[in-house]
Structure formats: C-alpha cells, structure tokens
C-alpha cells in the first residue's frame, strides 16, 4: 500500500508549539502517526540539578509556557513537603488566586486556539484580547507578564499590591458577562458544531489505558477527578466550586467543560478575594545562609491540577544545597506521545490539528 507522509509541525500553522506529528496518510485518513518530540528539549532536569534550590525558582516556570505558575506551585509545594514547612495562611490564598488566573488564561488560550483549526479567527482574537488583560493583572502583581517567579518556597514573593482587587473584580465581571459570547462564537456556533461534535472521541477505556488526566479524563468518565477536589492542596478545601464533568467525550464536550471551568475559576477567585486573611505572605524556608540552605533527604512527588491535567514534580533531595534529581511529569505526556501513536490513526487530516488542540497537548512540558 502506497502511503503519503504529511507533517503537522513544527513549522505548521495548525501546531501550537514546537513539536511535529508525523502522519502516514492514505487519501485523507491517517494510517500511522507518531509525535516527534524534542524540539524544545533544553536538558531541564539536568539544569535543575545544577542550580540551588532557590535559583531553581527562576528556572522552573520555563517548563511550560502557556501556564507557568503551576510549575512554581508544584516545585514550591514539593520543596515545602521535604522541608516540612508551614507557610503563612495568606500565601495559600494568594497562590490560589494566581493559579486560577493562570488557569483562566490557559483555558482562554486553548479555547481561542479552537479558532485556528476551525478558522474562526474572530474567536481567537477575542480570547487573546481577554487573556492579555490577565497578563496585565499579572504584571501588576508580579512585575512580569509571563514568567512571574512569584510562588516561591515559603510563600509568595510579595504581597498583593494595593487596589488590585478592584482590577480583578472588573476583569472577572467583564469576562463573566462575555462567556455567553464565547459560547456563541465557538462551541454553539452552527458551523463549528459540525466540526467538533461527535469527532475526536476519547472513550473512558482509552483514558485509563493512556493515563490521560484533567479535562480529557473528566469528560469521559463522568466523575470529578480533579486533584483540587480529591487531594486538595493550598486551601481548595475551603472554597466552594464544582468540577464540570460529562460522560461523552467529544471535542465539543471537552471545550464545553473548559468554558465551564473558566466560570468556576472566576467563582474561586471571588471567594479567595473575600475570604483571604491578612498577614505575612512569606517565611524563610530554612535557617542558615541566605541562599545556600539545605533541604532534608527525601523523595517527594508533588502534584497540582493544571489546565491540562495532573502536573507533577518528582523531587529527590540528598540533603544538599541542590536538588539531587527533579523529574517533571508533563500533563500532556500520555495523550501527546502514546495517544498520538495509538489513537490519532483513523482520524482524518482535517481533524489532526483539532485533535492536538482539544486534547490539550503542550509540547514544552513533553520535551523539557
């Protein structure tokens, strides 16, 4: 059988990020495919072994570009577990605000990313316009738009600036009022429904086989499998929120869950702003030198719920000033590598970009 080879990425408008899907195509049906990762390989895990614990804070956000704060959170909370460190109460709440804003930003970007493969650029433009507002808020809080280095071991780097609550409320209100518009432009748009309904399925067996987490899992198994719920970190056990689920996972239901999660995140941030106590936001992680403090021996797996699923850091300390080994579990690792190899075949090349998009595949966290 004669096959043709097509590529989705690295230099392809349908691929967000620097990875390449190699597809062997017959007509327009994909017969075999695999992901060629490594275009973003920076030797991250090696780099982290060579930096001080505190230096690593500058490095880790760069693991995942669209949503850098989860890295900081996973790393900081892992180190805190090793240090057996209790951080101030207010820091927990600020972390939650930051994480939820990051989640909204990532969801908006992914949802706007629907505009690429389906061609509705207006949706993309609107989503990015709103995302830019979040980046502005981040800049006010942390001083940086993308890589904040704000969640540090022992709390957060500094307290929220004065008056930021007002900005946040303004933004949240405007975003909430526009969610309907997003639905109309995207998943409720008749021409887009044709593309995303009943395609790119993710049945529950596949979820378990691959180990998909996050929205992919929740949309298939109809259970609130969200680390924020089942194994709460920070103060997620003290806020009220729902985890949207469904029992039929096509592209549309996953995007639907995304939009619903944006709503939930808005609610969480509002509760945080309300319930947040006053107080210090940072403690010193350890006694001793200002930078070269040590962390006790131990292994810890520290995980957070990112916008794409379970994001974990496996951290090993040998009692020194540097981490002995840090392993990163990218949230999109299972669907990105094994999923593309096993379940992209059989779909059409029209759907390939959409497949990669709605499965939530983020190449930097696969390569590291």
């Amino acid at each position: 059988m004669k096959e043709m080879k097509l590529f989705l990425g690295p230099q392809h408008p349908g691929m967000h990020g620097n990875a390449s899907v190699h597809m062997f195509v017959d007509g327009d049906i994909i017969k075999r495919s695999y992901l060629l990762p490594g275009m973003l390989y920076r030797g991250f895990e090696k780099q982290m072994e060579r930096k001080l614990w505190v230096n690593n804070i500058a490095l880790i956000p760069r693991v995942c570009v669209p949503e850098p704060d989860i890295n900081e959170m996973a790393f900081a909370s892992g180190a805190e577990k090793l240090l057996k460190l209790e951080i101030p109460e207010r820091a927990h709440w600020i972390r939650m605000i930051i994480l939820e804003f990051a989640r909204i930003s990532a969801h908006l970007m992914a949802y706007g990313g629907l505009g690429g493969p389906t061609g509705n650029y207006t949706l993309m433009y609107h989503a990015h316009a709103d995302r830019n507002n979040i980046l502005d808020i981040f800049e006010k809080i942390t001083g940086a738009r993308v890589y904040h280095q704000y969640i540090v071991i022992g709390g957060v780097r500094q307290d929220l600036p004065k008056g930021i609550e007002k900005d946040m409320h303004t933004f949240l209100d405007s975003l909430e009022s526009r969610l309907k518009e997003y639905r109309d432009l995207g998943i409720d748009n008749a021409s887009i429904i044709k593309r995303i309904k009943d395609t790119i399925m993710l049945p529950a067996e596949v979820v378990w086989e691959l180990g998909v987490t996050g929205i992919g899992m929740r949309s298939a198994v109809n259970k609130a499998y969200d680390i924020r719920k089942v194994a709460p970190y920070a103060r997620y056990d003290q806020v009220e929120f729902e985890v949207p689920v469904s029992d039929y996972s096509d592209a549309r239901s996953r995007l639907d869950i995304k939009i619903k999660e944006v709503q939930q995140s808005i609610n969480i941030i509002r509760q945080c702003l309300e319930k947040m106590p006053e107080g210090p936001v940072r403690v010193k992680p350890a006694r001793g030198q200002s930078m070269r403090w040590t962390v006790p021996k131990g292994h810890v797996y520290s995980m957070v719920e990112s916008s794409r699923g379970e994001f974990g850091y496996y951290m090993v300390s040998n009692g020194g000033t540097h981490p002995y080994r840090v392993g990163v579990r990218g949230a999109s690792y299972p669907q990105g590598l094994l999923g593309i190899e096993k379940y992209l075949p059989g779909t059409r090349i029209d759907d390939a970009a959409l497949w990669v998009d709605t499965m939530g595949i983020c190449s930097p966290e696969i390569d590291r």
Binding site: P13, G119, N120, Y121, T122, H126, A129, S191, I192
Partner: protein, 301 residues
C-alpha cells in the same frame, strides 16, 4: 477591435484596483469586528508589490507556466466582464458561460502549477478546491439557468437590462429562493468561511499556495483579487439588477462583498465532505424548486 481590447484591459485593471482597495477596506472593517485597528486600506497593494519585488523559487517550467496561464485566464475573463450596462468591452459576447468556464482555465492553471510544485499539501488543496467547485457550481448553474430562461438571454448586459427595464425588478427579489442559493454559492466561490476548506492554513498549510513565494505568489494574489472581482460582479449583475452607472455598481459591489465578508468572519470552516453535503442538500433543492416555479409555473414576482 483594438479599442475593445483596450477597454477590456481597462476593466480588468479597474477590477483589480477596485477589489484590492475594497479588500483592504474590508480588512479594516473585519479588524473592528475583532477589536483592533486593522491595516491601512492600501495594505493589499503593498503586499502584492512587495511579493512581486521578491526573489522567489521555481520548481520547473510547469510551476511558472501554470501561474502565467492562470493569471492570463483570469485577466481574459475579467476583460469580458461588463461593469454597467454600457461599460462593456465586447457587447453581445459577454456570455454567462464564458465566465463560468474561462474562470476554470485560471483554476486549472493554478491547480497545475500547484501540483507541479510536488508538494502534497498543494495537491490536497487543489483536490479540495476542485471538490468545492463541484459543490457550489451545480446549484449556482441551475439558478443561472432559471435566470437565463426567464430573461431570455445569456448575455450579462442583456440580463442587466432585463432587470432594469422591468421596473428595477431584481432577480434576488423576483427569485428569492434562487437569490439565497446565489449568496451561498457566492460564498463558496469566494472561498469564504465556512467554505474556505481549500486554504485551511491550520489543516493543510494554506493549500495550493503552500509552495509559492515571490513573484509567483504576487501573481496569484493579483489572480485572486481579479477573480473575486469577477465573482462578485457576476452576482451583482445576475441578482442585483446590474448597474446603470458606475457608482451604483460600486455601491452594490461594496455591499455584497462586505456582507459576505462579515458573515464569513463569525463562522468556522467545514470539512470538505460537509461542504459537498451542504450544497447538495438545501441549496440544490431550493434551486430546483425555484427553477420549477419560475419555468414551469411562470411564477416570477
């Protein structure tokens, strides 16, 4: 004869300038829709001249020849196009079928050149373009059949004159179902979303244009602008009563193109088989019903 040919070239040139400016203005309008400023209105001219000034690549003689043939075919088609009832290069010879089939020469040239580049994306794009053509042409031609049958001529100027003399009775009003089909087919012809399947940057990396750069791409842009001019004017002449003077033509042209563009910009794109299914379901049925009503029953408003 020479004068006629010069008039024809003038019309083609006018069409190019008109569509390029209106395309630029439309980019600004769409920019506003997307919460931004948009480019300068003459940006499309700059783009085209820039492309012409670059040093591109060539994949062999068919790659160049196809582009020349495509642009030649489109320019030739535009030269037949009447602007108003009076401004037309070749009276009596502006036959409707010339536009449909001479346009196909352009398509064929471009398809040849794109396939000749040896890129699979380009071939897929060509395949999609041809399939889309199969989808929208049949309903459109049925409506055209009705119009020709009713107005008793296939000359565009005669069809315009027919609509204008009968108390400005536009065919989009006289044949409402046909008019609807006409709009949908026009969107397919222009390759507007949701029928933009053959460009689809995210799926097939801009389809037929994938290997073009430099002057070849510049010529394809000129080709695209002129073919949009042809298709929109065809719609204006067939359905909107043509124009008795150039200003009316400009107004109608601008309105049609802008409306179509705005509709396009809040839609996603279909898959290619969905495009075919779409056109062979309602538009074809409506076109046939319209033809039955108009030809056999004689019910023309």
């Amino acid at each position: 004869m020479i004068v006629n040919i010069l008039v024809g070239i003038g019309i083609a040139l006018f069409g190019f300038a008109l569509q390029t400016s209106i395309g630029g203005i439309n980019r600004k309008i769409v920019g506003r829709l997307q919460k931004r400023h948009g480019p300068r209105w003459y940006q499309e001219f700059i783009d085209i001249f820039k492309l012409l000034s670059k040093r591109g690549i060539s994949h062999g003689w068919i790659y160049d020849f196809g582009v020349i043939m495509a642009l030649g075919g489109i320019i030739a088609t535009a030269m037949f196009m009447p602007l108003t009832v009076d401004i037309v290069a070749f009276k009596q010879f502006d036959n409707f079928f010339i536009f449909v089939y001479l346009l196909a020469v352009g398509m064929l040239g471009m398809a040849m050149s794109a396939s000749g580049s040896g890129n699979p994306w380009a071939s897929i794009g060509v395949m999609r373009a041809l399939t889309t053509m199969l989808a929208y042409e049949v309903p459109f031609l049925i409506v055209a059949l009705t119009i020709i049958n009713v107005s008793d001529s296939s000359s565009l100027t005669a069809i315009q004159a027919f609509q204008q003399t009968a108390g400005n009775n536009w065919f989009i009003i006289a044949l409402p179902l046909g008019g609807l089909v006409g709009v949908l087919s026009l969107m397919g012809m222009l390759g507007k979303k949701p029928f933009e399947t053959y460009i689809a940057p995210a799926e097939i990396a801009s389809g037929p244009m994938v290997e073009y750069g430099g002057k070849q791409l510049g010529m394809l842009f000129i080709l695209h602008e002129i073919s949009v001019f042809i298709e929109v004017s065809l719609f204006v002449h067939l359905f909107l009563g043509g124009a008795s003077n150039i200003f009316i033509f400009l107004i109608k042209y601008f309105t049609v193109y802008t409306v179509v563009n705005l509709i396009s910009n809040v839609n996603g794109r279909f898959k290619i088989d969905q495009v075919v299914k779409f056109f062979y379901k309602w538009p074809l049925l409506l076109a046939i019903i319209q033809a039955f009503i108009a030809i056999y029953l004689g019910w023309v408003i």
